[in-house]
């Protein structure tokens, strides 16, 4: 008893802070977890989460037989895997190339410029790109016409949606992504390079045999995070390029939930989708983490 009083006397202030912080987490993270129950209920706003009627797996059945869900899942996977293939390595390659440059004012200016797009929101990036690609007034189509081509409705066509997503993703994030790789490269012990140079290894061989293995843990860390978020294809980015003409390829799980539960009134069905997404993402994170640790790299859990 005395001990408890002593602890409270010493730490009462810390516990007050903790109460505020935990209050926040309980209200905005744990109460919504309780709200997941509506996936198994017929949610009626007037009855609330607690009062709505239990219906078991009815909404699961309904939503899994909804064709649009599978289209959204397919699109999400296509976008996410394309990002992994086309966008994941770009920051790494840029970082290795930047590292070969003398660390002077020119490199500083380059870095400042290529980091910049990261701070511009998707709405603006999307707006600029849409205007750039506009068939009547856009610069790109002016150039195409100048060279005798036909103007293209880039943002209105399904076939050009994915390239637009990948290119704008690289534009926004590739420069910024170099920062952590450059830091990892700077952390490599210079003696390793010197030893390799004495052995007559060329610079390119030094990069392949020393630099890349040394930054492998950073690469695997980024890979784990990418795998864990495979079901989130980037709501902010996709929604600015989404329109009625490309919806067959641009509807992703997040926009599907948004259309269903926020714009529409299918709260229970949308919760089912959100719940499944959350569970699968957590499982993927754990698996990726385990695999990474098995291969001798660091994990994140």
């Amino acid at each position: 008893m005395n001990k408890i009083i002593r602890v409270l006397k010493k730490y009462w202030f810390v516990y007050v802070l903790a109460a505020f912080v935990l209050g926040f987490y309980i209200l905005f993270c744990y109460v919504p977890m309780y709200g997941i129950l509506i996936a198994f209920k017929d949610y009626k706003p007037l009855l609330g989460v607690f009062g709505s009627k239990w219906v078991g797996f009815k909404h699961f059945y309904e939503i899994f037989t909804n064709r649009n869900l599978w289209i959204a899942l397919r699109n999400t996977l296509i976008i996410s895997f394309s990002r992994l293939v086309f966008c994941f390595c770009v920051p790494m390659v840029l970082a290795i190339m930047l590292n070969e440059m003398v660390n002077g004012p020119v490199r500083k200016i380059y870095q400042t410029l290529i980091y910049l797009p990261h701070f511009i929101s998707w709405v603006i990036m999307g707006g600029i790109v849409t205007m750039f690609l506009s068939p009547s007034t856009g610069l790109i189509n002016k150039l195409i016409e100048f060279f005798g081509g036909e103007p293209q409705y880039f943002v209105m066509k399904s076939s050009t949606f994915l390239p637009v997503i990948l290119i704008t993703d690289t534009w926004k994030n590739a420069g910024w992504g170099t920062i952590i790789y450059i830091a990892a490269i700077n952390g490599v012990n210079p003696e390793l390079y010197e030893a390799a140079e004495l052995d007559g290894a060329s610079r390119i061989r030094q990069i392949i045999h020393i630099m890349i293995p040394s930054i492998m843990s950073m690469i695997s860390l980024m890979l784990i995070l990418a795998v864990a978020s495979i079901l989130s294809a980037g709501f902010d980015q996709v929604i600015v390029f989404q329109n009625n003409y490309n919806r067959n390829v641009s509807a992703i799980i997040d926009t599907f939930v948004y259309d269903l539960g926020i714009k529409g009134a299918y709260k229970s069905e949308a919760t089912v989708v959100g719940l499944c997404k959350s569970i699968i993402s957590t499982i993927l994170l754990v698996i990726a983490d385990r695999v990474s640790k098995k291969m001798g790299q660091r994990g994140i859990i």
Partner: protein, 282 residues
Amino acid sequence: MKNRGFTIFNYIFFGVLAFVMVYPFWYAFLSSVVPYSDLMQRTLPIIPTKFDFSAYKEILVNGLLGDAYLTTIKSTFIGLALSLAFTVSGAYVLSIEKLPGAKIISSIIILTMFFSGGLIPMYILLSDLKLINNFWVYVIPSLINTVYMFIIRTSFTDIPLSLREAAEIDGASECRIMLTIYVRLSLPTIMVIGLFYAVDKWNELYTALYFIIDYKLYTLQAALYNLLNANSGTGVGGGAIKTVDEQVKYSAVILTILPIILVYPFLQKYFTKGVLLGSVKE
């Protein structure tokens, strides 16, 4: 042994890359100040030929983005202040290893990084709390970013315990220890995190799209989203604005990115530092 050819290639490559990445913003600026007919006379305009600020005037006089600007500035400042207060408090609680119950507190918080209720339960909660279509929805549900909190916690745990012990012997209260030792010594990190919060708030889009109905309460990004999509009819509420001139659109884009472009060059090194702090393993 440096390869000369590669070095030259490297400089040219990054020069071209930097140009390609930044030119669209410059083009947007040109389009906002140069009459459209003039812009099209050359294939790749670089320097403005003559100035025409009528589109800016239209935005400012008609107050096209006025409400959104106010909402965003308000949410950025209020959100920044409250978020920092909560985040620093949380980081301080988590940094005291001797605190009885520390394990339970950190488990409760860490679990939320792996599992969340998702969008719809959040929506229901916010509507129960009367936060739907309410300005405070920009501030309260996003008070603490857990990753940011752990970054500040790491910086707190790097401070030698001997400083705390000395203060304890002098009879300093926990509040005093937190403010005069921990917050003061970690101020650079806290400021970097504040910068991240500010940019997050400034670029806030989906809170408005998800939880705000009234256009008057839209953030700048959401208002801009509607404005840019006004002609194509794909905006969330495309009906608010009928047709919008391209030049007005570009001017709105420039007015929205201006604050970021102006402060970015001076703060770039702090942003870079923030990313590196974030990649430190817990």
